[in-house]
C-alpha cells in the first residue's frame, strides 16, 4: 500500500461491471435511437422522372395544368397520389413547371385567365404567372420543378 493508487480487487471488479453495463446500455441505446428516428430522417428521395404529356399542349404564355398520378411509398404502404402541375412557356422551348400547392397552408391555387394571376381561395393569396407572390399571406413563391423535354414530351424531376 505504499503506492498512491493501489487498485483493490473489489474496486477493479466494480469498475469493470459498470463499464460492461455501460457498453451494454450503449449497445442497445444507439441502435434504438437510430431505429426510432430513422424514418424521420428520410427525405422524399424519389428523384425519378414523372411524365406529364406533350409539350405542344402548353399554349404560349398561358400556364397549363397537367394532372398525373404518381405512386408514393409511405412506410410499407404505396399510395396513388395525384399531382397537379402548371407548366408555362414563352417561346415553346424553355418551360417552367410549378406546383399548384399554395405555399401558405397548402390549398390548391388556380390560374385566373382574365386577371393573369394564380389565385388561392383559402386566404386570398395571389401569385403572378411565374409563381411569385403578389399579395396575401403566402410567404414564398410556388414550388418549381425541374423540367425535361424529350421528343416533345414534358417530364419533371422529383415527386
Amino acid at each position: 500500500m505504499d503506492e498512491e493508487k493501489q487498485v483493490s480487487r473489489r474496486g477493479f471488479l466494480s469498475r469493470t461491471i459498470w463499464a460492461i453495463g455501460g457498453l451494454i446500455t450503449a449497445g442497445f441505446g444507439i441502435p434504438a435511437i437510430a431505429y426510432i428516428i430513422g424514418p424521420a430522417l428520410q427525405r422524399d428521395a424519389a428523384q425519378n422522372l414523372i411524365r406529364l404529356g406533350a409539350a405542344s399542349k402548353v399554349e404560349l404564355g398561358i400556364p397549363t395544368l397537367f394532372k398525373v398520378t404518381v405512386q408514393r411509398k409511405t412506410g410499407w404502404i404505396v399510395n396513388e397520389e395525384e399531382l397537379s402541375i402548371y407548366v408555362r412557356t414563352d417561346d415553346g422551348r424553355n418551360f417552367t413547371a410549378m406546383s399548384n400547392v399554395c405555399t401558405h397552408l397548402g390549398c390548391r391555387v388556380r390560374w385566373v385567365a382574365d386577371r393573369k394571376e394564380f389565385f388561392c381561395p383559402c386566404h386570398n393569396g395571389v401569385f403572378d404567372k411565374d409563381g411569385n407572390v403578389i399579395s396575401g399571406p403566402p410567404p414564398r413563391p410556388l414550388n418549381r420543378y425541374e423540367v425535361k423535354v424529350e421528343n416533345g414530351q414534358l417530364s419533371i424531376v422529383g415527386g
Binding site: 442497445f28 441502435p31 434504438a32 437510430a34 431505429y35 426510432i36 430513422g38 424514418p39 412506410g75 410499407w76
Partner: protein
C-alpha cells in the same frame, strides 16, 4: 454528486435498498447459479426490443407482414432489433429450462423456497405463452400454419377442446380476430404477468437468500 446522493438517501434510503439487492451475502456457489440472472437479462432484452418493434408493427392481416418486412429491410437497425427479439425468444426458453434444471438438481425448490418455485413454474408457462403468441405475429405462411396446428392441438382436448380452440382463435377460423388477440396477449397480458411474477420471484430470492450448493453427506 455525493451531496445529491446524500440528499436523496436521507429521503429515500436508497443505499439500504442498493445494499440489500447488490451487496447481500451469498454462499459460495458455482456458475449454474448465474442462469437465473442470464434469464433475467434476456427477459429485459425481450422487453426493450419488443417495445421498439411495436413502434412499426401493425397487427392486422393487411399490414402485419408488410410492416415486419419494412422493419427488417428499411428501418435503420431494424434487422438488429427484430433479430434480437427473434433469437432472444428462443434463448429465453432455453435459459428458463436450464435455470429450472439447476433448481431441481440442487434441491433449491424445498422449504422455504416453495413460492419462489411456484412463481417460477408460472414464469415458465408465461415464457411459453410469449413464444406461442409471438410466433403468429409476422403473419407469414409459417406463422399462419404453426398457429393453425397449435390451436388445433388445443382443440383435441376432451370435452373442452372445441371451446378452447374457439377461444384461442376468437371464432371458428384463424382470422384478423386471432391476430389481434394474440397481439394483445403478447404485448399486454403476458408482459404484465411477467413483470409481476419476476418482481415476486426476485423479492423472494433476496428475502430468503439463495441456497448453498448441496453437500455430499446430508
Amino acid at each position: 454528486m455525493t451531496r445529491v446522493a446524500n440528499w436523496l438517501d436521507e429521503r429515500l434510503a436508497w443505499r439500504r435498498v442498493w445494499e440489500a439487492i447488490f451487496l447481500r451475502r451469498v454462499p459460495k456457489v458455482n456458475w449454474f447459479y448465474t442462469l437465473g440472472s442470464a434469464t433475467l437479462f434476456v427477459a429485459l432484452n425481450q422487453i426493450v426490443t419488443g417495445i421498439l418493434l411495436t413502434i412499426y408493427y401493425v397487427p392486422t392481416p393487411d399490414h402485419a407482414y408488410d410492416s415486419v418486412q419494412y422493419i427488417t429491410t428499411e428501418v435503420p437497425a431494424g434487422w438488429l432489433i427484430r433479430g434480437l427479439h427473434h433469437w432472444g425468444a428462443s434463448a429465453l426458453i432455453v435459459l428458463v429450462v436450464l435455470h429450472m434444471l439447476r433448481v431441481i438438481l440442487g434441491g433449491a425448490y424445498k422449504y422455504p423456497r416453495e413460492i419462489t418455485w411456484m412463481t417460477g413454474v408460472v414464469l415458465l408457462i408465461v415464457s411459453l405463452g410469449f413464444g406461442f403468441t409471438g410466433y403468429l405475429l409476422p403473419w407469414d405462411q409459417k406463422a399462419y400454419w404453426a398457429t393453425t396446428v397449435g390451436t388445433r392441438i388445443a382443440g383435441t382436448a376432451p370435452v373442452i377442446g372445441d371451446s378452447m380452440l374457439r377461444i384461442l382463435r376468437g371464432g371458428e377460423d384463424l382470422t384478423a380476430v386471432t391476430l389481434a388477440r394474440f397481439f394483445g396477449v403478447h404485448v399486454w397480458i403476458l408482459p404484465v404477468a411477467l413483470l409481476t411474477l419476476i418482481g415476486i420471484h426476485l423479492y423472494l430470492v433476496i428475502r430468503i437468500g439463495i441456497s448453498a450448493v448441496p453437500k455430499r453427506k446430508e
